[in-house]
Symmetry: none
Subunit: 431 residues, 2 copies
Amino acid sequence: MRIAIKSNLSSYKNKVILLVCDGLGDRPYQPADGKTPLQAAYTPNLDAISEAGINGLIDIISPGIVPGSDTAHLSLFGYDPYRYYPGRGVFEALGADMELQKGDVAFRANFATVDANMRIKDRRAGRKGSKELAEVLNGLEIDGVKILLENTTDHRCAVVMRSNGGTLSRYVSDVDTHEAGGVIQKCEPLNEAAVDGEGGSDGEGARKTASIVNRFIKMSYELLDEHPVNAARREKGELPANIVLLRGAGSFKRVIPVKERFGFSAACIAGVSLYSGVAKYLGMDVLAHRYAGEMLDTDTDLQNKAEAALQALKEHDFVFVHVKDSDNYGHDGDFEGKKNIISRIDKELVARLKDADAYIAVTGDHSTPVSLKRHSSDPVPLVIKGDGVRKDNVKKFDEFSVAYGGLGRIKGTDLMPILSDFMGFYMMYGT
Amino acid sequence: MRIAIKSNLSSYKNKVILLVCDGLGDRPYQPADGKTPLQAAYTPNLDAISEAGINGLIDIISPGIVPGSDTAHLSLFGYDPYRYYPGRGVFEALGADMELQKGDVAFRANFATVDANMRIKDRRAGRKGSKELAEVLNGLEIDGVKILLENTTDHRCAVVMRSNGGTLSRYVSDVDTHEAGGVIQKCEPLNEAAVDGEGGSDGEGARKTASIVNRFIKMSYELLDEHPVNAARREKGELPANIVLLRGAGSFKRVIPVKERFGFSAACIAGVSLYSGVAKYLGMDVLAHRYAGEMLDTDTDLQNKAEAALQALKEHDFVFVHVKDSDNYGHDGDFEGKKNIISRIDKELVARLKDADAYIAVTGDHSTPVSLKRHSSDPVPLVIKGDGVRKDNVKKFDEFSVAYGGLGRIKGTDLMPILSDFMGFYMMYGT
């Protein structure tokens, strides 16, 4: 694309707050008289923004395609996921503050509990991790490949494999298949290795990576099962964290950062490392800890998030604020929970942000209907409020009302160029 | 694209009936007070579906591009026609139950009547074919190319050319130019042969194919003109079927079938071989004959079609039902005819299908305005009804009302992913 970034240097630059409520969209829920959680929630502040702004629906990837949270955020930040998606593990590792180098393959990982036959007793090891056990595994070397491991929150880890010779590949299967009671799967090279030519057109990189994954998992059991930390856990009646399971392989490559691509500085306020990871991948400043401390690791302190966003706005042109819980309640099939967190987002977060000296855009990264307990492709509502927007007739921020808004139905990757133009950092093609 | 098909295996899979009324869309017709046939028709069942469902407009290919019936159906089934269109002849041959092999070039063909100077007297030979004459030509070999010919319905035929050596190419001109009174055109190699590199970058395959087409047509006249079948026809005052004209060359290649691409089984209920051919090309089960017998060869028995669709739904996840006549009346410029067939579709087909235990989607494959007597690019109305759709405010199924629906304006290739997600066979990108 030969699109030039221009900016009207003489004038004041506008700023933007982009609030993404994860899994916000929903479908009509029959037990609630066919309302969606967003319709049922008490949202005077969101509705005021809708009334003052321009509204529409976003197909995050394209109509009918169900977005993952990772691809969804790439798209919302203007990066076509089909071109830029490196695989989930990259975001997890970046979100865990690990440094990545070109050629690294990164994974999401869990401490888990298995019996001596490698049958999974709890794929989350009682949701309890251990920094000490992580250190046992961190720095291992297998067949010329160094393995780095960080325990992030609870049982969760990020793992990076770095080769000092041959190529590694992200095209390997997951060993953590989300099914309890089963035996641990063997990691296998995937066909795409040959298709994409990653790791050599014969898929050699994928075969090598799969072999190292399998040996690493075996080694983790051998090193952890009888470790004093686990002996102590067993003594207290807790599940031992006696193995590490890997999934979501990703391979790191550099992308053009937001500042270079769009021209403005961007900050990320998110409590969950995946989203910080995406933001870091795109060169945003990840500021949650700097401004609001550890409480942002859990997602409930919405007021702190609002203050962090307003702080970030002083030093950045664009502030991305992420709230996770709306998605969690969708996955749980909990209508009341989703409705209530949306009401709280309105009261504790939106109320504080809505009068900031900035454009405000509110949307979701995908729908997570409580009736489905999974992501769906239903488009998500969007509102943009600020100077010069073509205010429409929409008065209520929900999936149905915004369908009649002035933005119509746009694609996820359209949002960032639209916001850029409102900001004055516009992308011009031609003269 | 590394899009994974997922499905919620533990839960009930939803089914879909997709009803495509050929050429359904229209423009306001001044002699009918500016109404379209769909607006003027009596359609209580379609309107009930609209009121209960979500509505919108589809650009079958893209705004302003006039779809053919063949490319339109590829698009509606989720296959981008710019990528997957093999040329019409392939669909005709498959629709005639001919087996195709990679490298085959297939044609639509007509029995026609010419005089001794190769001037066309009737390009349809009085709309009467002959299985016996077809057998005279079937199996001929010219220059190492075997020619297979089937007489389908009336004067229509499908022709397949299969080379035992050099490459053949679909990039040759039509010899049947739809003009009566003219002399038969010579088949010429087309430029695209060189552009696409099909048949060798020098267009050799196209030159060879054109030469064989010309020799075959000449041979058909020599073998048919004085054949006893034609002597008998002349005696009865009928036009002889004394030549075969070819057009719509297509070259066969395998595509990923619907089942593999989307995950669900699909059936086709269509009375016209073109549509069965498209369905077969995409790996759908073509079931019209199995369930409803020969009467589906003509398109008028709508009640039988409804029963066939409901039967097919028992063994398939997705049932495509096609009605042709709405298009025919558009081509004839017959407003009343188009209006009446739509009323009949509503009463005899939609009324029976609308309460099936399945999502129902109704649309057209393109517009065929009676004022134009040809296909046009005007987008076609779409409604989807079923559990969890975001019901909108539309209460009438017509080109104008649905423009205010919750689906907005989508592309033809979006429909299948959207339906897949409703079915539970969703396509997910990312995690």
